[in-house]
């Protein structure tokens, strides 16, 4: 079982640890609901060092990534990041990830940082390397073993981070990043996250991340900072209707079905899985991911059957009792002709069909997000 460089700090904080994707990770410290509320109302600090990091460089690195990823890395300026997906040949999804454009290498070729799901590091690395054709100059360095990542999320995140760095975090745009010292150690800071709140992700070498964590905890004391575990990370992302690989996304599910068509750019010379992605984008997919609220009593969970129009129609991919909304909510797949907002569904909860209504995505949007 892998441990992050912050493992000892989690233990000192009394975290409940769980096994996740081969890592021993904190699932909660104070309780999922308290941590969830802290992120919505103040600020939470997450260790997400289990995530994978790849550096892609070389003369043809950009061409390979344009072909291998659904979004278009050529649209990124240095200092910008984008959400993107890694499709397979059938248009299903190998993983979803963030691509950052780092400064060009000395030869003037673009360099990219990819941050991928912990559970998919080996699969992604092998798949991406296999996309490089003979004669192409593109190199993928897997840096997952020596880079660490923390997420500082919530409305007080800028104030906390500003106390630990000279970087101008207040003016950093959404999905922009900068590099500089945080807590006296070199770091990459991006205005990104997986909670539906304002916030940052801070990447540093394994040896340095402890200093970052400690400085943020110290600076956060005046702002109600709460260390938060994977439990709150999951409950927050579900309210924000953000997909999680292995739930909303898998090898058979396309980005279009998942409602992520705006991250699929067809205006490129070629793209893996293009045939299906282009067809579904043009004609609409046969099934779609929907967000629903339970109108009867019960909590939907992954794998529960969804019924529509009196017949089994799909299944739940994620669900919980929403801490912010106080209602049971879920996501899942249904036939496209049953996916309209306001549509009536029923979820088979331990043998009982409990009614639910399709609602707009996301369930929760932060007040200042417009």
């Amino acid at each position: 079982m892998n441990r992050t460089p912050l493992f000892d700090r989690h233990q000192q904080l009394g975290a409940r640890m769980v096994a996740f994707a081969g890592w021993e990770m904190p699932v909660w410290y104070a309780g999922i609901q308290a941590e969830h509320a802290a992120v919505r109302e103040a600020v939470g600090l997450f260790d997400v060092s289990h995530m994978g990091e790849f550096i892609v460089h070389g003369r043809d690195g950009q061409a390979v990534l344009r072909r291998a990823l659904t979004n278009d890395v050529a649209a990124l300026e240095i200092g910008e990041a984008q959400y993107t997906l890694l499709p397979n040949a059938h248009g299903g999804t190998v993983d979803d990830l963030l691509a950052y454009r780092l400064p060009d290498n000395p030869r003037g070729h673009p360099v990219y940082l990819l941050v991928v799901n912990a559970s998919n590091i080996d699969k992604d690395r092998d798949w991406l390397r296999a996309q490089v054709r003979p004669g192409e100059d593109a190199v993928l360095d897997d840096r997952s073993g020596d880079m660490a990542l923390v997420a500082l999320q919530g409305p007080r995140a800028p104030a906390v981070l500003a106390a630990a760095t000279r970087l101008d975090v207040w003016r950093m745009g959404y999905y922009r990043f900068d590099r500089g010292d945080v807590a006296g150690v070199p770091a990459l800071v991006s205005r990104t996250g997986y909670t539906g709140e304002d916030g940052f992700e801070i990447m540093a070498d394994n040896a340095d991340i402890g200093a970052v964590w400690d400085a943020l905890v110290a600076a956060g004391a005046a702002h109600g900072l709460q260390p938060a575990g994977l439990g709150a990370r999951d409950s927050l992302r579900i309210e924000a209707a953000m997909p999680l690989y292995g739930h909303e996304l898998d090898d058979d599910t396309s980005a279009i079905e998942a409602g992520l068509g705006r991250f699929v750019k067809l205006d490129k010379p070629e793209m893996v899985g293009r045939e299906r992605l282009a067809r579904e984008k043009a004609e609409g997919p046969a099934r779609k991911m929907v967000c629903f609220e339970m109108t009867g009593r019960g909590i939907p969970r992954q794998g529960y059957a969804i019924h529509a129009g009196g017949a089994a129609a799909g299944s739940v991919t994620s669900g919980l009792q929403s801490p912010t909304l106080g209602r049971a909510i879920g996501m899942g797949y249904v036939p496209a002709d049953r996916a309209g907002i306001g549509g009536e569904l029923a979820v088979d909860i331990r043998g009982t069909l409990v009614p639910a209504t399709i609602v707009r995505r996301p369930f929760y949007r932060r007040p200042d997000a417009g």
């Binding site: 999922i32 609901q33 439990g231 009593r297 969970r301």
Partner: protein, 128 residues
């Protein structure tokens, strides 16, 4: 975590309190609620339902997951804790008191002899 000595326990972390009138009040232990974390939903059968020893009779759900409740005995549900519908957090706050779940009329009082006492349950949870 103190384990009340007047209760009986199961290996599935339910407690059972046999009252003077022969009825059995059932809930989950402090250890169980601590393992679950924040309880957000409790589903138990209505009064009149039959429960069977060792079989799932209801569900307790945390933010993360649903867990089966296993009946410590065979019998008939005579009362349910209606407070848990709106206040499932009572299971965390007071697992041996306000967080009780059902009262069961045992079909066979001898079944109770097979349950764990506090010392045996303490040993079980200490193992981890």
């Amino acid at each position: 975590m103190t384990i009340p000595t007047h209760l009986r326990y199961t290996a599935e972390h339910e407690w059972l309190d046999v009252t003077d009138d022969g009825l059995a009040r059932v809930g989950i232990t402090a250890f169980a609620q601590d393992q679950l974390g924040d309880v957000v939903y409790v589903d138990v059968p209505a009064a009149g339902a039959t429960v069977r020893a060792g079989k799932p009779f209801g569900v307790v759900e945390s933010v993360k997951a649903a867990s089966d409740l296993y009946s410590p005995l065979t019998g008939t549900v005579v009362e349910v804790n209606g407070q848990l519908v709106d206040h499932p957090e009572l299971v965390n706050a007071d697992p041996y008191g306000e967080g009780w779940m059902v009262v069961v009329r045992p079909a066979d009082a001898a079944e109770l002899d097979g349950l764990l006492d506090a010392a045996a349950y303490a040993a079980l949870t200490a193992e981890g």
